[in-house]
Symmetry: D3
Subunit: 177 residues, 6 copies
């Protein structure tokens, strides 16, 4: 019978959108652990400049990108987690949405601290080129009409096309009071 007590690494993000930097981290975690948990945060939010995509669109991007990269979903949990608006217990909230995990991976100082205060082991992710692969920069390029396509998997380009995502971001930015 299959063992259930595998080593799992947790990767928390908002994935707006899922980009090549994220993909590198997934591969890095899978090189060290049996399985990876991709936890999508702020799933209640969409259609804002910071979180333009719905939870469903983000899940979809991740599934298609992993398949494109020939990573089997058998070793991946993709989990949608709404905000709790309670920093001091957010880590426990995340934990209640996930199967047991060995450690969390993050380069963010604030997130690392929250994991540490909750007594959870944290590891930095290998340094990828954050200048190129950066969610807020990608969203800015989308808004400006500049080239963002090289920073994301092809599947993400396709999905953003299907949902008319670039136009959505531009409409958000023209929001008047």
């Amino acid at each position: 019978m299959r063992r259930i007590d595998l080593k799992r690494g947790l990767f928390v993000g908002r994935f707006n959108p899922f980009h090549l930097g994220h993909l590198m981290v997934v591969k890095e975690i899978l090189a060290e652990e049996n399985e990876v948990i991709i936890a999508i945060g702020s799933t209640q939010e969409s259609h804002t400049l910071k979180n333009p995509f719905t939870a469903g669109e983000r899940v979809w991007m991740i599934h298609e990108s992993l398949k494109e990269a020939e990573i089997s979903l058998d070793q991946v949990f993709v989990i949608t987690i709404p905000d709790l608006f309670r920093n001091s217990i957010w880590i426990h909230h995340v934990r209640s949405y996930c199967p047991p995990f060995t450690r969390a991976y993050t380069n963010n100082n604030h997130t690392r601290r929250l994991f540490k205060e909750a007594g959870i082991d944290v590891k930095p992710t290998g340094v990828f080129n954050r200048t190129d692969f950066n969610g807020s920069k990608i969203r800015e390029l989308m808004l400006e009409g500049s080239r963002w396509q090289k920073m994301v998997p092809k599947a993400v380009i396709k999905i953003i096309g299907t949902i008319d995502g670039i136009e959505r971001i531009r409409n958000i930015s023209k929001k008047t009071d």
Copy 2:
């Protein structure tokens, strides 16, 4: 390049726990569609008689059960959806957490009606033996100390053992005011 406009069937439940009846429905949907979306509802709730397991425990049970049944996770979305406490728009809430889907599968009259009022195609699931495979009955048997194990995949038995789930359910039932 891979197509992203696949046929997907939606299967909504609370999965407390995931049982053999659920597994049959998953197989049935995969026989008709390219992919299945297993949407876990009421994920904010746990440690109650109706929803004893956490969202993470339920996700874990589903992943392990599908692997045990040799169903590739590549064709399955497992999505965690908190309650919205707004029946009239709950279907739209669910939809915002999922990739596009062709139709929903359910035998529940109330859920079917909500899908219909939202203009979504609904199909009944093939009749399985609801007397044997029924969440509230399984939880009752767990509480009584009767045999519930034949109604769930082996992986579910293992996970419930790991988390000391039967004892948890008994403690819940002894809750005093």
Copy 3:
């Protein structure tokens, strides 16, 4: 120029559905005050046995019923108020959704107490036949397939027909776990 400091009476209810007893209270209040405020509570809820209709359906029933009764909407405020789940300050919540009012009308002991504790004048409504005109009784008759139609304005019958309301209530009651 028109005066804005009119005498207004507040009438709080859930109006699931608006019935002839409610209509009598509206008339009674308009006989004593310049204007009536019909405050619809629990507007976030619908598709339950206690609150089967949406906020919009309830507003619609009230407007059409008042027109049918030839009561001008010029002297009526119809206001939709979500629950706050905070009994001790609910009255202040209601007040923040309404224009200034002189007093509240209710026959409910609990509601009367909340108004009193908040320092607001409360008046009982003239006794109408509560055996005939009673929301929970009407919903029960709808469920059983008995005659409920004599207890509500014709406009309400029409709207419930349009939204297939009786069938909705039956589907709710067949909700399985």
Copy 4:
């Protein structure tokens, strides 16, 4: 018997305060539809620079302004709708608070997009002078002590006087940490 399947146009705003531009839109909609639904959003908020007035004060301003303009309330629904903080399903939330409507009227790009994504017909409103009639500009003038009175119906001036609204806005702006 009166028909209930009328043509209704939806007009969503925050109305802080209701101004002459809003009044023009109401007239424009009533010229094309049988009835207008004025849906007041963000009703849970008040006493902020963006939403200084309570839901009740805004309802009151609208009723009195329409009477001043000799528009019968018999053809107007004024509905108070709290925020849902879920952009992707906000339109469905609004819809659940309203009677059925034919189309929505808005000049806002973001709102128009949300209606379109929800499959609802949207029409731009006739261009009025947005430089003169603009909520945030009016609130700014109130704060500065400049002339804002020409931009709103007389009834709104009266109500703001009654509630000491200008002083309230100034107090809000002096909020210290």
Copy 5:
């Protein structure tokens, strides 16, 4: 300088009302620890049969009862904690509202389990006569008009008199639909 790393015992309850059994537990904890934390839960609720008193009324009862018993408030934290409606992380929520504590005291199986799952030391409280000192029984006696006064400190009788608490409970019970 005073030490801040004292031994503290946590005592969680709803205290509707604070009774002599509660007082015994406070004394018991103070005999073993330097300080006691009295954590009042469900503080958002009041005016229901289960939680008739407001958070403020419950705090007030506790302060006055401790003074009556000549227990100095210098060694007592009285903390008001709203429900989170998330059993799996409720203990962490409670912890975020309290100063550090050594262990929790409870005789409730369900609560004990939640503490254990969160990795916190729990101790049973010495057995007091639960037949006499029991919140739901006291509330029942209040409703029936029987003698409840011997079960609570004199200060509690006085406060319940001041707020007309018995009449409030009776009004709640007469709540009609």
Copy 6:
């Protein structure tokens, strides 16, 4: 028997952290009233630049600071109050968490207005040196690594050391998107 109808003054703040200015206000209120209620607001928030400390840490700071200043906790209520996000009724929310009080003390224009609109007596606090004793300034100094220690009681320095508070604030400020 002890009187329960004492004169109590209400002091609302966020206390991030409790500083010497706050301590002066407490002393000032105790000179005029029998008891002081220290109501800690925004208790659901922590680990942000505006509210770096948890509710529990803030309660702890206040208790230890009062003891250090030899103020008996017998005359002090320390109450934790979550935000309601409803300005118009926030005062009533605060009131429901407190024992009865005679008046509120504040120098904040906005808060004073909210108390006045709710019909509660408000008094300004004696002017202390707000340039020296100011929460946002103290947090800024902590972030910069400048001297903040002279502005707070010694107990606060000790607690911030114990929880590694300065490092926490720096981690928060380095939060990346």
